[in-house]
């Protein structure tokens, strides 16, 4: 089975929820999700963040839904790491 192991996303989010709550929400999507967040830019109402997600099998649809639910939007997928099936 082909799985996504790593994603780096460029996200525009409002100030609330804060970085910790945002990461906790993303990490709750599945088992053994590791989330790294760096704030790239801050303005009056929003902040641009770079989120690195690593997990054995990342569910991008769920990640996208959670981001949308928190009022943020994914501007770009900057990095992807996918692992394919081992050849028999």
């Amino acid at each position: 089975m082909t799985t996504i192991r790593k994603l780096v996303l460029d996200i525009l989010k409002p100030h609330e929820p804060n970085a910790i709550d945002f990461c906790l929400a993303l990490a709750s999507v599945g088992d053994r999700y590791q989330i790294n967040l760096i704030v790239a830019e801050v303005d009056e109402k929003t902040e641009t963040i770079v989120v690195t997600i690593e997990a054995p099998d990342i569910n991008f649809a769920e990640i996208s839904a959670i981001v949308q639910k928190m009022g943020a939007s994914i501007h770009s997928i900057d990095e992807v790491e996918v692992h394919g099936e081992a050849a028999l």
């Binding site: 525009l12 989010k13 409002p14 609330e16 929820p17 709550d21 929400a25 303005d43 009056e44 109402k45 929003t46 949308q68 639910k69 928190m70 009022g71 943020a72 939007s73």
Partner: protein, 193 residues
């Protein structure tokens, strides 16, 4: 409208508790002072017909409830919609289905309920001696006096609550609001004569 409130939506609601607390105190104080004034007016006029006093005070109580409910809902809804629009413009996306959008729909209702029910509950509490006038006739004190005492206690407790919020000495805070109530009575008595 779905009432499934998850963690992030609850966070939005909890952050609005300052506004709700402010409305609780402001409108509660309004209601208590209004009914105190009415009951004092009935007492010094020598009114003996409790049912007329109850009708008048209940009318004022209901009006305060409706006023609190509607004014808070309309003003909070306008503010939340303005905030949501500004955020949507900054994020360049529709936020109606996000936690922000849901909070902007729930919060005005929550705050309106606080703003409406705070004077309603306090006013009904102050009027309770009038409702129970026959049952408490053994006290040999006018039910209006009992209502006035309950009003003073309610206003004092509102002051104590304010003191807890501002972390000042509860007694001074309670006495301060009680002083306002006493001054109100003084003015009523002055005009009454």
């Amino acid at each position: 409208m779905s009432f499934v409130l998850d963690t992030h939506l609850m966070l939005h609601i909890l952050r609005a508790q300052n506004i709700a607390r402010r409305y609780f105190i402001t409108n509660g104080f309004d209601g208590a002072l209004t009914i105190l004034g009415m009951v004092t007016g009935f007492y010094i006029s020598g009114m003996t017909d409790i049912s007329i006093a109850i009708s008048a005070c209940l009318g004022a109580t209901i009006a305060l409830f409706m006023s609190g409910l509607s004014s808070a809902y309309l003003s909070e809804k306008a503010e939340r919609e303005k905030e949501l629009l500004e955020l949507e413009q900054a994020l360049i996306r529709d936020l109606k289905t996000s936690d922000y959008g849901r909070a902007s729909r729930y919060l005005p209702i929550m705050i309106a309920l606080v703003n409406g029910f705070s004077p309603l509950i306090l006013c009904l509490l102050i009027l309770s001696p009038l409702f129970l006038a026959e049952q408490i006739s053994f006290l040999f004190v006018s039910p209006f006096i009992n209502s006035i005492v309950i009003a003073f206690v309610s206003i004092f407790l509102l002051g104590v609550f304010l003191g807890k919020i501002s972390q000042t000495f509860w007694l001074w805070s309670g006495l301060r609001t009680l002083l306002i109530a006493l001054f109100t009575i003084f003015i009523i008595l002055l005009f009454g004569q």
